[in-house]
Symmetry: C2
Subunit: 226 residues, 2 copies
C-alpha cells in the first residue's frame, strides 16, 4: 500500500551516512553517480527542504547541476534561501513514471526515480561562478535558451542569490516494473499492470506582446516534438 517508501537508501558509490543508509526496500537503491546525474539532469524542478525555527519547510524551485555541484537561486529576500547557509538543506528531485495497479490494495505502488541530496549550501559570491550557476539553472529548464536570451545585468545579478550544494551526500531510489502481488492473489479476477505517467510539453504559446515575425526557436520547437 506504500506508494513511495519514506526512507532514503544507501548508495555505495555515493556516500553512505546516517541520512542515506539502508532503510526500507533496499533493492530499490542504486549506487552509481551516473544514475544520480541522470535523475537530476532529467528533472525540471526540485523540492528544497530547509529547517526554519525548528520546523521543516519544503518549497519547489528550479535548479541546475554543474559536475558535482547543484545550484539553486532565488531573490536575495527569500527567507528560505537566506536560512540555508547556516544549516544543511535537502534537495529532492522525483520523477513519477507510472501507477502500479495491483490485485490487492496493499501492493499498489508507483514507479518512480528519486534523488535526495543533503548538504550545507555555500552562498556563491564569485561573479563568474554566480553566472555559471544561473546558466546551469536556466539551461536545466530550457536547454539552449542561454544563447538567445538577454543575459543578466549587474543589477539583476545583485538581486539574485545563488547557492551551491555539493553532491557529496546523496541517495537515489528507483522502482520500475510490474506489480508484486502475493501469489494467492494472482487467481483474483482483478486487472493488474502499470499505467505509465509522463511529463510532456505542449505547443508553445507566444507572448501576446511578441513582435511579429519571430518564430519559435529550434531549441524550443525540438523539445516539444521530442
Amino acid at each position: 500500500m506504500t506508494a513511495l517508501s519514506s526512507t532514503a537508501l544507501s548508495s555505495t558509490a555515493l556516500s553512505t551516512t546516517g541520512r542515506t543508509r539502508l532503510g526500507r526496500n533496499p533493492d530499490r537503491g542504486r549506487g552509481d553517480r551516473s544514475a544520480l546525474y541522470a535523475i537530476l539532469d532529467a528533472g525540471l524542478i526540485c523540492h528544497l527542504g530547509v529547517v526554519i525555527d525548528g520546523s521543516p519547510r519544503v518549497l519547489p524551485t528550479g535548479y541546475g547541476r554543474l559536475d558535482d555541484t547543484l545550484y539553486v537561486h532565488g531573490s536575495t529576500g527569500a527567507s528560505s534561501l537566506m536560512a540555508g547557509p547556516s544549516q544543511d538543506v535537502c534537495v529532492t528531485v522525483t520523477h513519477l513514471d507510472g501507477l502500479v495497479i495491483a490485485r490487492s490494495l496493499f501492493h499498489h505502488s508507483v514507479n518512480y526515480r528519486s534523488a535526495v541530496v543533503f548538504g550545507r549550501p555555500r552562498p556563491v559570491t564569485d561573479p563568474d561562478e554566480k553566472l555559471a550557476g544561473i546558466r546551469a539553472i536556466t539551461e536545466n529548464l530550457t536547454p539552449g535558451q542561454w544563447d538567445v536570451a538577454r543575459r543578466p545585468t549587474r543589477k539583476e545579478l545583485a538581486a539574485t542569490s545563488v547557492l551551491a550544494i555539493p553532491l557529496d551526500e546523496a541517495s537515489i531510489k528507483i522502482r520500475q516494473g510490474d506489480p508484486s502481488d502475493d501469489d494467492a492473489d494472482h487467481a483474483l479476477d482483478v486487472w493488474a499492470g502499470v499505467v505509465p505517467v509522463r511529463q510532456t510539453f505542449g505547443e508553445p504559446s507566444p507572448d501576446p506582446a511578441l513582435r511579429p515575425g519571430i518564430a519559435v526557436p529550434g531549441h524550443i520547437a525540438r523539445r516539444v516534438t521530442s
Copy 2:
C-alpha cells in the same frame, strides 16, 4: 530569473502564521480553501518534509485528502513517518504547468500551482479511520480502484502506519500567464511565450502474470483517454 519563489505566501481564508505569511510575489498567493483542495486533489504525490537530527529530509510519497485532513502512510518501519508525530511536518504538492520563456534570462520563470501544508501529524489508530485514510490515499492515485481491488487484511493494516495531518495551516501559490519582461526588452529579437507542461497517462501495460480475459477496467481506461 527565479523559477519559483522560495517563500510561502499568506492565504487569508486559510490561516496566516509566521510560516504562511506574505513573502515574495504576494500577487501569486491565493486565499481560498477551495483552491487549496483543487491543488491537493489534482496531485498524485507530495513531498513530505521532516526534521531528523536537526536536518531536513524531503521524501516523495502518496497522500490523500478527506475533508480537512491529509493522510499519508508508510511501513511501520519507515523512520521518517515515525519521526513525524513528535514534531511538525511540511507537505508540499506542486504542479508544474509551463515554462515561461522571457526575452531576458532574469524574467524566465515557470507557471505552477503549489500547496504547502504545515502540521503536527497524528498517528491514526482507530481501525475505521485508518481504513478511510488508506482509501483516500489509494483513490487519490487511482480513483475507482478501491471498489475492485482486494481490501487490506488485518495483518496488512497492522503493517501500515497512517498519519493524519490537519489542513489548518496552509498556503498556496500560483503563477499563470505570459512572461513579464521589462518594457525595454520588448524590442529584442527574441521569442517569448509559454511552453505548457503536462502530466499525462500512457497506455496501460498489463502484468505479464495477468490471467487471460481480464480487460483494462473502465475507471483506468477512462483516465488514460481523458
